[in-house]
Amino acid sequence: MEAISNQIILGVTFALLATSVLYLCTWAFKSQAFGWAASILNWVCFGALTAAIILRWVASHQMGIGHAPFSNLFESLVFFAWTIALIYLIIEMATWIRTIGAFAVPLAFLAMLYALTLDPSIKPLLPALKSNWLIAHVITCFLGYAGFGVSAALGAMYLATGQAKDPASPRALLLDNLIYQTVVVGFILLTAGIVTGSIWANSAWGTYWSWDPKETWSLITWLVYASLLHSRFMRGWQGKRIAMFSLVGFACVLFTYFGVNLLLSGLHSYATGK
């Protein structure tokens, strides 16, 4: 079952590449035929990825070490790709602007590609991860990351499609509003992720906040997006600036997710146990 799950993950990675190309063609050729193909393939990817995650969960139970598949970088990357696909598909259903997919879906593909370079074997949970808060913490954080990822994709689209030239056009205003809406979703979920993480830390390490690099970077990300939300109340911060801001914010997200683990040591480095 683990093997089937890994096969699906491999397949979905290449299917997401194909989906990304189809969305790019939709944008480049302004063709709805490509758009429909991209959407259908995207839904197939999302469904297959959901199945792969569930299979992996079941497989871990069959191995007698059952736990939710959120315990290491490999599993989190697969889940990250899933959350991006989910949030993007919701936006596609609401707006039918498929060009967004040309910017959002490649993120899911890259996450999956990174996952393929890692060891996919299912391992038992370390004592520190044995907590009911694992699921709530990981789901909220990664849905939040995905919200920010999609807002960055919208920001990139805003800049790449030259909306800044006519920021009062309906398309530009819609994108601007979508960037804001996805940031709000991401912000609420990131807050929930930090709160669940604090509750967990309080029962595992005896402190709800210890300025561990991962915690601190999640706070930095929170502060950056908090200032983005406040910038809405200042004149001249719509449009191009918000688009760029969403990219800066997502850079913080990426550092919180990858940079901290790779470059800074701390309590979240589950590769090195004491």
Partner: protein
Amino acid sequence: MSADQPRKPILERAWDLFASVKLSFFLLLLLAVISIAGTLIPQKEPASVYVRAYGEAGWRLFNALGLDDMYHAPWFVLILALLAANLVICSLNRLSLTLRILGKDPADEAAAMRKPKQSLTLAGSPEANLPRVKKLLASLVGKVSTAQDEERTTLFAQRGGWSRFGVYLVHTSVLVIMAGGLVGNFWGYAGHVNIVQGQTISQIVLDNGQPKDLGFALRLDKFTVSFYKNGMPSEYRSEVTFLDQGKPVKTASLIVNDPAEYRSIDFYQASYGTSVKEVLANYIDPQGKSHQVTLLNQQWSPLPGGGQAGIMAFREKVQMGSMYSGPIARILYQKGQEQPQQLTAFAAGTKIPMKSGPVRFELIEAKAAPYSGLQVKYDPGVWLIWAGCTLMVLGFFMAFYFSHRKLWLRLSPTGQGRTRVELAASTNKNRHSLARLTARLAEQLSADQKTGE
């Protein structure tokens, strides 16, 4: 501000500054930038780490500026205080406006209709239509107020006014969380204690190195580590008994993620190890004669034929490539009043090439006991943190997903016995959902019309 305008008094200008979103924006980003620096510069390391990295002078500067513990440095706390002041003043400034908006008399609102965006015509006179329209508006929006102006009747209804308080809830929650942090900082403490299996302790070491009496005692009855089949640790468990005035009052199993609490003090499983009590060893004296001796941990024991020795450090199993695998001990040996010497001892019967000293020790058996390292915490502010977090998330939903919407419907006769309905609406945010609401209202007005015919 032009030059001939009189400058505002300084206090008023300070108030304006602290009431501005620009300051919040700046402070939030400033905190982000400082926090980034704090993750790049090692924090709370021993002085030697900084001396090695930045030199003696660099370390003194670091220490003076608090850069080695910047999240607790006075200037960092000051920035947090500025943010708190900004929050309070900005909120107070806006609150009066919000209360004014919410305190408006609905009758006055009805009389002051916004510019209509939409209009439609209904069969029947305004008088005949009025009850239906009123009922529909009440069910879709809320309580209806009416204003009469010659032949025209204006209906007004609003909903979601309470959502205007969402932002204040969020701002309050930040202050509550800050207060929780302060309470923990001033009245709480954190420390740790290592307890050898079977040992009872009543004192812990605080993070600042000071000892602290608990006021009760704690005994480690048993410590166990269990492993998965692949050798990864699966659980660290300390069975403990709390003793009050010498009497056992509570037993608990401490595992990671499941602490125990006694008299509001929390104990967490944090680390573990083995602590040696005594070691049985062969002592090979300066004449090459072997004696069996018992050495104690951190204590001198006299040796046969003069001199004394004790164990400084002991490890049950050390792997030294293919050369050696087994216990290892660092032993301090003193002959008469001479300078004590450090010796390394391996298990008896192993051939390890060593510098030949005056004497030698070979380890036979060690009496070791596991110890458990517990994190200890007393934090009376933690409930404020959770209260603040809850308020914040509730506040977000209020502030981001609800809006204060106002709707006006103006009914007037068209002259052919029909009614003209003009529709106006306003919202403080989220225009899309307002557009959906007005569309539904217009649709139902016309739909009722069809069934009414």
